[in-house]
């Protein structure tokens, strides 16, 4: 069983982020790391391949600069190979262009039995790319997968909902988006890190994949303004006069919480 995981390399969330004032987008010039939300997809892919008894996990990623350290992390976890679509022209790409590029990268790898993405990235949060990839590739897509088992050419998915989960069955090949925390991503071992150095990592441009225009030219969106989120207002302070509990009770009743 072969699985392709779409992974994103993002600025380290532990460091203060900065906006590019000319484009109103996040600055992504420095060192990028593997988006933690993608580590769950990588782990799930590795577990599915192990459970299937054979096959391999491949990665597709897109970044305007040639950063590969996030991909090396996923290769160190156990993925076999990766394609990075890297091209200065990609800067400013919207979600749909990203999906077109990643879909083309998936096709360059010859497709797979299963394609996995995170429900959303930790720096862009559009939450639409995986389903767009599925649409472009003509694959069934299941969102918010929290548990996946493969039975021959059929996949059983527990799909997270607000109330509980749906049980969904899908034929393969297919695409799923996985939620954070569904599996415990493994720590790469030192051996894995050393092995990742020599695993195949192909860097191609969007034009190599035949996807044009990309970046700002291909984007169907313009970010016209970014403004500060409104500061949270101070809460109501109730002085305790011995009867405070009645106010707390009526406050909760007003909210229909009790």
């Amino acid at each position: 069983m072969n699985v392709i995981v779409c992974v994103k390399q993002i600025p380290d969330p532990a460091l203060p982020g900065a906006l590019d004032s000319s484009s109103n987008t996040l600055k992504r010039d420095g060192k990028l790391i593997l988006d933690e939300s993608d580590s769950y997809g990588v782990e799930m892919a590795l577990q599915l391949v192990t459970a299937a008894g054979g096959g391999e996990v491949s990665l597709v990623s897109m970044a305007p600069n040639g950063e590969v350290s996030g991909l090396r992390t996923a290769l160190a976890m156990g993925a076999a190979k990766a394609i990075l679509v890297s091209d200065p022209a990609l800067k400013g790409s919207d979600a749909l262009t990203t999906a077109k590029v990643l879909a083309a990268a998936v096709q360059r790898l010859g497709g797979a039995d299963l394609i996995i993405g995170a429900t959303e990235s930790s720096d862009g949060y559009t939450g639409t790319v995986p389903e767009q990839i599925a649409e472009i590739l003509g694959l069934p897509s299941v969102t918010f997968a929290k548990k996946v088992t493969i039975d021959g050419s059929t996949m059983h998915i527990e799909r997270q909902t607000e109330q509980g989960y749906d049980e969904v069955t899908s034929p393969l090949p297919a695409l799923i988006s996985v939620t954070a925390g569904v599996v415990e991503p493994r720590y790469p071992s030192f051996k894995g890190i050393m092995a990742a150095k020599s695993k195949p990592l192909e860097t191609v441009t969007a034009a190599d994949l035949g996807i044009t225009p990309v970046g700002w030219d291909g984007a169907g969106q313009t970010i016209v303004n970014v403004s500060q989120a409104e500061a949270r207002k101070a809460g109501e302070v109730i002085e305790d006069d011995g009867e405070t509990f009645t106010k707390v009770v009526s406050y909760l009743e007003n909210l229909k919480l009790i």
Binding site: Y187, K191, I193
Partner: protein, 380 residues
């Protein structure tokens, strides 16, 4: 060796740092308070491959260099010195003697479990009457011709990892007719008594016991290395261990520097953060220089070892300087934290208690100075 580690070492550092931050740091204060040796965490460190880094792949190791072990010990030690010494001693004093001097059978029997962190080994060298003067070993071993067994009698002190639930074997030095020799004494051997854990100033979550050996009988195939080579062998082991302890001390010093910088930027007094007072900022500037020196000495020594160069002097220099820097760092950090540095709510207190032993264990500062002086060609 240009003052910078490889990309792979730094990637590995990031992994160990993540592991330490999520698996160790949140519990370190409680383990310290309760004097609790967390076996599950040691097993998790084993799963991460930390105990097998420097050993060959044929025994389940990673075949990595000594530098990578130093990176791991530094990062673990940065959040918990007790777990740092558990790793350092498990690798350097537990598995390393067997790897260096063991027969194929001994390696096959003991190494795989130690390398995966399923078992810990220990090294019984220090005695009640002989620490720095390790050649004065009083423990004796004699071959009983009738049973064909070695019979060991004596006492050992301050033996790290000797009494854990996963301790498998203890290498013991003992005097024989041909000089000091090393013996592998499996846990549970009749005649081996692991004494109750010490009440220590620091390293509360690390396992340390005295041992007594009374008519302790082991098979002849548990002699480790050549009879009479014990003294030379453990000196070689200690050279490796000194670099590891230097890395552990570096972790301690970095933790104190980082915490003190953060605190100085937050704490206000007399109308501004205390970082603005040179009495504070200059101390931290000097400490940063010392930490940088400790880092360079540690990884220089590791580099020399990894590249097959002589490293005895470099290891002694690194151990001496880094451990004294660690003690200085805890004193400076405590002073900057003020009263908050004197209560157990801040990790500084734990580091303060943990640091002192770094100047003592695996060769005191005085012994390091003797080694360096001897390397200088001084007649001692």
């Amino acid at each position: 060796m240009l003052g910078e580690l490889s990309e792979e070492h730094e990637a590995f550092r990031a992994v160990v740092r993540d592991f330490a931050a999520s698996e160790i740091e949140p519990h370190a204060a409680a383990w310290d308070r309760d004097h609790h040796f967390p076996v599950d965490t040691v097993l998790a460190m084993g799963d991460l491959g930390l105990f097998g880094l420097i050993f060959p792949e044929e025994y389940g190791g990673a075949g990595a260099d000594f530098t990578s072990l130093c990176v791991a010990i530094e990062e673990i030690g940065r959040v918990d010195q007790s777990m740092g010494i558990t790793l350092s001693a498990g690798v350097g004093l537990g598995a390393n003697p067997i790897h260096h001097f063991g027969s194929d059978e001994q390696k096959q029997r003991w190494l795989p479990e130690m390398i995966t962190g399923r078992a810990l080994g220990a090294f019984g060298l220090t005695e009640p009457d002989g620490g720095s003067d390790a050649g004065a070993t009083k423990t004796k071993a004699r071959l009983d011709e009738t049973t064909g067994k070695w019979v060991i009698d004596g006492n050992k002190s301050f033996i790290t990892n000797s009494g854990t639930a996963i301790t498998s074997v203890i290498t013991v030095t003992a005097r024989t007719d041909s000089g000091i020799s090393c013996f592998l004494v499996p846990s549970g051997t009749p005649g081996l008594t692991v004494e109750p854990a010490y009440h220590k100033l620091g390293w509360h979550a690390s396992d340390t016991h005295g041992l007594s050996l009374n008519d302790c009988r082991i098979d002849t195939d548990q002699l480790l290395g050549t009879p009479g080579d014990g003294f030379r062998n453990f000196l070689q082991i200690l050279d490796d261990g000194r670099i590891a302890i230097s890395a552990l001390a570096l972790g301690c010093a970095r933790a104190c520097l980082d915490a003190a910088v953060d605190y100085a930027n937050e704490r206000t007094a007399f109308g501004s953060t205390i970082s603005r007072y040179q009495g504070v900022s200059f101390q931290l500037a000097d400490l940063a220089v010392a930490v940088e020196n400790a880092r360079n000495l540690t990884y220089k020594a590791a580099w020399l070892k990894d590249n097959g160069r002589p490293f005895k002097q470099a290891a002694a220099m690194a151990k001496l300087y880094s451990t004294e820097t660690a003690v200085d760092a805890t004193r400076i950090a405590t002073q900057i934290f003020g009263g908050a540095g004197f209560i157990e709510e801040t990790p500084i207190v734990r580091f303060y208690r943990d640091a002192k032993v770094l100047e003592i264990g695996e060769g005191t500062s005085e012994i390091q100075r003797m080694v360096i002086a001897r390397c200088l060609g001084l007649a001692l």
